[in-house]
Structure formats: C-alpha cells, structure tokens
C-alpha cells in the first residue's frame, strides 16, 4: 500500500504518495520532476544523487522515501537564489571548467556546499576528503578542487 509523505524541497512543500520501498532519489526525479540529482549507481558509490537533507549531505539513493517525510531537502536546483543569481559554488564550477559532461556536477556541487556550510576555510586536502565519495570520470578532479577553493574564497570575501 502506498503511503502519504510530505517533504519540502528547495523551499516548496510537496505531498506525495509513495511505495514504502521507493527511494528518495526516485521520488525527486520521477514524481516531482526535480531531476538535478542524478542516478549513477543506485548504491551509494558515486555520489551523483547527493542532496542536503535537514542540513546534512546524504546519498538520496540510500534514503527510503518514507524516511524523507517531514524533511527539508536542498538539491542543486535550490542553490540558485530567487533573483536568479547563482551560488559562488555554481559560479566557480562554471569558471574553472569543473563541469564537463555535467552528470556528476549536481552531486559534486551539493557536497561542496555541505562542506562549506560546516567548514568555510577548507584546505585542499579537506576538499578532497569531503568529495571522496563523489566520482567524476571527466576531469581528474583538479578543476573541481580548484573551483571549491575559489568558491570558499569568494564567500569569505563577502563576509
């Protein structure tokens, strides 16, 4: 039997009927058409589906949909501000060419956001550690790490 859940995604509240065994990533993508989070492996190994749930990063392929009931979720779509300006992470990912095919990018940027939320002054090593559960096959990671460092500096500049 399907059960009702209610969750807030990027500030918008949704009521959905879900199968108890469905996953948060599928509810976001298939039911809500919030397709920023990608499915690269469906077993927590690639990080492409990373979202922020109640302030913390989670692999949305490892969360049962009913577990997201009552939660606040931020996906890549939620990083953009209402006036259309982008988060420094998004800006710097574009500037540093940290995005090639783009399939890992939503998870990569959300994970970077989660890092900067708790550690606004990361070292390069801390950036690499934080992103070590996010796979990218295009870049070799250097331009991604550079983008996160640049975004952190930009955000600090605005303090």
């Amino acid at each position: 039997m399907k059960i009702p859940i209610s969750l807030t995604v990027n500030g918008d509240k949704y009521d959905v009927m879900v199968s108890p065994l469905s996953k948060l990533v599928d509810v976001l993508r298939d039911d809500l058409l919030i397709t920023g989070p990608k499915k690269g492996c469906a077993e927590g190994e690639c990080g492409a589906c990373t979202v922020i749930m109640d302030g913390k990063p989670v692999s949305s392929c490892l969360v049962l949909a009913p577990q997201a009931d009552g939660k606040e979720i931020t996906t890549i779509e939620g990083l953009e501000r209402e006036d259309g300006t982008l988060d420094p992470i998004q800006e710097e990912f574009m500037n540093s060419a940290a995005i090639q095919c783009g399939y890992c990018s939503p998870g990569m940027m959300i994970m970077s956001k989660a890092l900067l939320m708790v550690n606004p002054h990361p070292t390069e090593e801390e950036v690499r550690d934080a992103l070590s559960g996010n796979l990218c096959r295009c870049t070799g990671y250097q331009q991604i790490v550079d983008a996160v460092m640049a975004a952190a500096e930009k955000e600090r500049g605005g303090e």
């Binding site: 199968s19 993508r29 298939d30 058409l33 919030i34 397709t35 920023g36 990608k38 499915k39 690269g40 492996c41 469906a42 077993e43 190994e45 690639c46 492409a48 996906t75 890549i76 779509e77 990083l79 953009e80 982008l86 998004q90 800006e91 990912f93 574009m94 500037n95 540093s96 060419a97 995005i99 090639q100 095919c101 783009g102 399939y103 890992c104 990018s105 939503p106 940027m109 950036v127 690499r128 550690d129 992103l131 070590s132 559960g133 996010n134 796979l135 990218c136 096959r137 295009c138 870049t139 070799g140 990671y141 250097q142 331009q143 991604i144 790490v145």
Partner: protein, 766 residues
C-alpha cells in the same frame, strides 16, 4: 607562446557552453526526460554464456497488471546487422541462442519500473546450455565451440601486413628484445549509463532521444535493424553524461524502439549500472608478442608484433580497433621496417568496443614499456632512446601517413625540465620513489573508420537579429566540443562569442556528421564549421556590400560589426544586415552550408597504406610514484603532461581534457580490471570496480607545446584520446623504476607489486 595573430576568440578560456544549464540542474539528460503516456522498459538478459533458446513463454509476464508489452526477436525484422559492415553479427534480441551473460533475450514495457522488473521474473525461458569459450587464444584452436556460424574459426578479423624489410632490419640490429605484454579489459565508467527514450510517430517513424557519439551513422545501422528508412528515425542527442568511446550503437536503443512501436507509447529504458558493466562495450583486451631490433644508439631497426585481441561474442568496432593497435604507433616513432600479425577472436564474453585510445592506448602501453626495457639493456636514458626514434615534423611514415606539425621532441624536453625542477621532498620512511616517462601519438580524425565517408560539414544561420546558430552533426558528450565550435565560428565570422549558439544535435535539422571518435572533433569538425561560416560570411558580406555600396571583398568584420576596411567607420551591425537580408528575401535567413574533406584517397583496406588523418598529435607524460614497501600501495605524487595539440582554442578546456585523461589512465595503470570468470563479470559495480576518486589524484602540471597545424582550424589539433594514451605506461614505468622489476601486464595492483618486492628482496638476500 605562439604568436597571437590577433585572434579575438581563439585561445580564450571562455566558459563551456551548456555549463550554466549543468551548473543549475536544468540540463536534461535522457534519464531525466518524461513524456506524457511514457512507459518504462526493462531488459531480460541471459544468465548463460552460451545456450540454445528452446522456448520463451511471455504469457505470465504479459498477464501482469501494468505490463503493456513484452518484446522478443519475433517482434523484430530478424535481420543481421552490425556497426561494422565486415561483421554484421547482431540481432536486436537473441535469435535461437544467447552468446554472452547479459545477452538481450526479451524486454518489457510497463507503467512503472517496478512493474517492468517484476515482469522480467515472469518470463519463462528454456535454455539448453552449449559449450562456451572464454579465452581469446583458446577460441582460435581447432574444436573450440563455434559462436557465430559465419565465422567457424572464431576469428572475427585478422591483419597481416608490413613495410620495409623486416629480416634486414633484424640483421642490422645490435640488440634484439623480445617481450610479451597484456593490456586488460576495462570499463569506461561514464557516469550516465546507456539509455534511450523512444516515441513512436505516425507510420514507421520514430523519435529517439539517445546519448550517442555517432548519431548519424547509428541511424543507418538502426534503420537496417528495424527495417525502416533512416529518415524514419529522428534522432536527438541531448545533454550526455560522458561516453569515452562506449556510446556507439547499442541494443538497448533498439529494444526501446521495438517496445515503443509495439505499445504505441513512448518508452524509456535505462541500464542499471550492473547491466552496463555486463553488457556495455569495454576495452578490447590484447595480448602482445613483440620482437624489436635496436642499434647501440637506440635506433630501432625492426619491429615485429603478434597480437591477439578479444572481440567478445559479437562485433562492435573490434576489427577497426585491432587494426589501429597493429600500426598506429608507427607514427609515434620512425620504425623503418615493420611487420604485424593481428587476430581478433570471438569468445562468449561481453562484446568489446571503443574506449578512449581505440587500440592505440593498448599498443602505446606496449611500446613505451618496450622502450624502457630496451633503454635499460642499451644503457641509455629513457628520453635518449625515445628522442633518437621520435617522429619529427613533415615526415611520411612507412604506411604513407603524412605527419605535418609534430612537437614530440619538445614535449619530451618540456616534461623532463618540469620534472627536474620539482620541489625535492623527502621520501617517507618505508617508501620507495620512482619516476617514469611515456610518449604518445594519436590521429586527429581517422578517415578510414566508415569508408566512403570523409570530412565534416556545418550549417550556419544568421538570423534577423544578427545572432548565429551553428548546426553540426558531430557530438559533444561533455568534452567541450560545442564550445570549441562556437569559438571557431565566432572567430571565422568576426562575431561576438556571446552571439553564437550551437544547436542541439537533431537529425531533423543537423547536417550529416560522423560524430565523436578518433579525436576528430576539433580538426575535422572544426574545419567543417569554418566551411559553413565562410559560406555564410560570403552572403553576409555581399548583402552588407550592397547596403554600403562597397565591394564585398573590401569588407571585414569584428565583434559582430561589418566595416569597410579602408574607412572602418562605414559599418553595419550583423543585426542590421541580418534583418535587411531576411526581410528582403521573404524570410529566408542567411544560411551558409559548407563542408571540409582532405581530398586525399582513403587508405587501402588491404595494405593499410594511405594518409589516415589530416593531422597528428603528440605528447609526453612523466609520473613520479611513491610505493609503500609493506603494502605495495602506489601513490602518484607528481605528474607532468606536455601535449602538442596545435594551437589551443580553449586552454582551460584543453587542460581539463588532459587532466581527465590522466585520471582515467591512472585507474587503468593501478587497479581497474574487469574480473571475468566463466564469462561473468564479477565486479560489476563501482563498489568492486574502483575508479580514481579525489584523494587518489595528484596535482597535475600540463604544458602546451603550441604548433600551428596547417590542416587544423586556426592551427588547432585534437586532444581527447591522446590524453590517456601515455598515462598507464608512464605510471608503470615509474613503478618499475622504483622497484627495478619489469611489469608488462596491466594493472599493476598493490598485491602484484608486493609479490614482486618479496621476490626481489629474496634475490638480494641470495
């Protein structure tokens, strides 16, 4: 730095086109798409490596609530087809028998994914197991099980050719080196698995949204498989989550089309990651037996190679890959006398195909290990033996390849200098350090891939507001090709970069192009863009000339403004001219249609003689490794890469291609390996097939050796595949250098390194 030549847009690191869509989550990839009435498809795959299909009973599956169709071979035209005309050994679904674990047996379309999956369990297939063969050399032996009736010896293709006098070459050698090598089977690991969305249209027409590197060629193959005309297929390639060679023709696209036709509704199919490992197109593994002759100074006098490659059970592009492996390295070094025997065999394993490097990556591993082995025997430094044999500019090789620009020697010198200037850091206790180098070459646009076709074209439209749209038939799979095309178009037209946009690849409007492979985008595709731009510019300038009362050839353009060269203040904007043209030609836009071809005859299929590419690319990498003597773990601590890719069009994107290639090659060198037992891929996911993550990658230094290639657009050449070619040998050479042990097989895992260390220590004690 090469001379700027006053370029406006070439050489600038503009942000990649599509980056905003990707950065904001707006980019729509096929798995993101949902159409009204859409069904979800799932594939039933064979659990047997080789078995006769006695019966398929789909009735229970069809009776399941929510199931809309179950398709098998009976729902298809049942014709043989295939990506390569020489080996048409495919069916959309298994016909009479299955040939590998993962073979497509049937497919289900249902109202949701869970229902489709449940229905798979209800399809009853009766199999009768057949003897199977998994080893590429076993397969050639007398009495091996026959996999494809038309190829009873299991040899999918073979190549035997040579140039020069091999015996004389060996006779004049001071040193003969004979070695064996093995390059293993690896998986491309693009982040988006293979998938398709197909909508049935009226009659026999279909609209297919698929991530594919060769949209137009695939359309021909798919039309044959489905028994329809190519124009019946509208093929759209939206944003694409990587390819690296894997995303060529694949049966999941066709199965999806069959389901769409059968149900009359749009159907989306997505491979799970496990399916993608089991039934993708991994790299062709190759076994080498090599004999080479050298003079005391390192000059190579003769090279003989015997290769056996594994094609898997049906042919993707194995024969072309094998052929490449047989002789492309003959443009890296000047080998005067060469001979090769290459065999590609059928086995009951997953079909193998293209993977960045396309056979050349395999042979470069072999030759770059060979060079280090020979150098050691001759008492030469690794760079000495390479430089004495290195390709030089304006040289025609024994196969008739006309190398134009060539920055190979400069690449070697550049990485050496960078490595020598590295900050010297203390080696940690219990660690060993080593340094290694490897060179590479590649084509920049292979011309013999799809014979009769050569070159590239574009269609350039200048609208009434002066904005430019580039239509092309190539393929951006994430590497930045569209950005480079936009930069080339802006430069050629004298337009503002921000005025140029590149249209999505859609066979309904895009010209016929071959797509992304053989590192051909920048050189061949770029020249096609220039041709279209020249045609558009001619119309634009004629219109402007008429408006200004000046001859068209007296005009020039810059930043989307056309001006009289003699009196630049006499000018018009693109939008003024565009509007004038459109409104005076009953709505017809300025459209330039142009194409580029080298004009050379294509290489002879028998002797392989003939210039295969308009330009050739070169590079040299160096790696420094640190090895944990207790665990065998390798850390790559420093990495330098120098490449001659002609004139860089977008340096940041070029650097990204190189760094990405290094990442991919690092994984191949150290861990990546498809463990296949009795035809089954055992490590069929990212848990046990490890690709490098953030912490495994060193900081990399990239160096551009700028040349001005006359055959390239604005002097540019390609990069994509060259970036991975030298990585595995550079790292393995560094490991060998640290340990004083030779490794000739990939990957060089910690366990193998530790075993070698133990043997070495024992010898030292003795």
């Amino acid at each position: 730095m090469a001379e700027n030549k006053g370029f406006n847009c070439i050489g600038k690191s503009v942000a990649a086109s599509g980056a905003w869509e990707k950065a904001t989550g707006r980019a729509q990839y096929v798995p993101d798409m949902k159409l009204p009435g859409m069904l979800y498809g799932k594939m039933l795959r064979s659990p047997y490596a080789h078995a006769r299909i006695v019966n398929i009973d789909t009735s229970k599956a069809e009776a399941l609530e929510g199931v809309k169709a179950v398709a098998t071979i009976k729902d298809t035209p049942q014709v043989n087809f295939g990506p390569m005309g020489t080996n048409e050994d495919w069916y959309i679904f298994a016909k009479d028998k299955v040939r590998f674990i993962g073979d497509e047996v049937a497919a289900v379309a249902a109202i949701d994914e869970a229902t489709a999956e449940a229905a798979l369990d209800l399809i009853e297939v009766t199999y009768e197991e057949l003897p199977a063969v998994f080893d590429m050399e076993e397969a050639m032996k007398e009495g091996s099980p026959v996999i494809n009736e038309k190829w009873p010896d299991n040899i999918a293709s073979q190549k035997h050719f040579g140039q020069g006098d091999i015996e004389a070459g060996f006779a004049e050698a001071d040193l003969i080196v004979e070695e064996e090598f093995y390059t293993n089977e690896v998986y491309q690991s693009y982040m988006e698995t293979m998938c398709a969305l197909v909508r049935p249209e009226k009659g026999s027409r279909l609209t297919m949204w698929v991530p594919i590197q060769i949209a137009n060629k695939a359309r021909l193959v798919y039309a044959k498989a489905l028994g329809i005309s190519p124009e019946d297929i509208r093929l759209i390639k939206p944003f694409m989550g990587g390819g690296f060679g894997a995303k060529f023709e694949t049966n999941i696209h066709l199965a999806c089309a069959v389901l769409a036709r059968k149900t009359g509704r749009p159907v989306k199919m997505i491979n799970s990651r496990h399916e993608d490992f089991a039934a993708g197109n991994p790299r062709v593994p190759i076994k080498y037996r090599v004999k080479m002759g050298f003079k005391k100074d390192g000059t190579c006098t003769a090279k003989y190679m015997h290769l056996v490659g594994n094609n898997g059970c049906r042919t993707v592009y194995g024969p072309a890959i094998m052929s490449t492996a047989c002789y492309r390295i003959d443009a890296l070094y000047k080998f005067p006398n060469v001979k090769v025997d290459g065999y590609l065999t059928y086995t009951n394993t997953v079909p193998t195909g293209c993977f960045r490097g396309f056979g050349n990556a395999q042979s470069i591993f072999m030759i770059e290990r060979m060079m280090d082995i020979a150098a050691e025997k001759l008492g030469l430094r690794p760079e000495e033996i390479r430089k004495v044999n290195a390709m030089t500019p304006n040289f025609t090789n024994p196969h008739g390849w006309r190398v134009g620009t060539c920055g190979l020697t400069e690449s070697i010198d550049a990485v050496l200098e960078a490595a020598q200037n590295r900050p010297k850091t203390e080696v940690s206790p219990g660690k060993l350090r080593g340094i290694g180098m490897a060179c590479c070459n590649h084509v920049s646009g292979n011309r013999g891939f799809f014979p009769t076709f050569d070159g590239s074209s574009s269609l350039i439209r200048i609208a009434e507001d002066g904005k430019i749209t580039v239509f092309h038939g190539e393929c951006d799979m994430g590497q930045g090709q569209d950005t480079v095309f936009a930069q080339i178009a802006a430069e050629e037209l004298g337009a503002k970069f921000s005025d140029v946009r590149v249209a999505e690849q859609d066979s309904q409007i895009s010209p016929w192009g071959l797509g992304s492979y053989a590192t051909r985008g920048t050189t061949v595709g770029g020249n096609g863009i220039i041709a279209g731009c020249k045609a558009a510019k001619k119309i634009l300038f004629e219109e402007a000339g008429a408006m200004l009362g000046v001859d068209a050839d007296q005009l020039d353009s810059r930043e989307s403004i056309i001006f009289w060269k003699r009196r630049p203040e006499k000018s018009l904007t693109f939008s003024e001219v565009g509007a004038h043209y459109v409104f005076n030609h009953a709505g017809s836009c300025i459209i330039g249609n142009g194409y580029y071809r080298t004009g050379d005859p294509l290489p002879d299929p028998k002797t392989s003689y003939g210039n295969v590419s308009p330009a050739y690319i070169f590079g040299c990498h160096m790696a420094e490794v640190e090895i944990d003597t207790l665990t065998g773990h390798v850390d790559v601590v420093n990495y330098w890469a120098a490449h001659d890719s002609g004139r860089p069009i977008n340096p940041t994107l070029l650097r990204g291609q190189i760094e990405g290639g290094i990442g991919m090659g690092l994984g191949w060198a150290l861990w990546e390996d498809m463990i296949i037992k009795d035809g089954k891929v055992l490590n069929d996911g990212f848990l046990d097939y490890r690709i490098p993550g953030t912490v495994d990658m060193p900081r990399m230094t990239t160096i551009f050796i700028e040349t001005d290639e006359p055959n390239g657009p604005f002097g540019a050449k390609g990069i994509g595949e060259a970036a991975i070619n030298p990585v595995a040998p550079a790292i393995v050479n560094a490991v060998c250098n640290a340990l004083g042990v030779h490794f000739n097989e990939l990957p060089v895992t910690p366990a193998r390194i530790l075993a070698a260390l133990k043997t070495r220590n024992k010898h030292q004690v003795i």
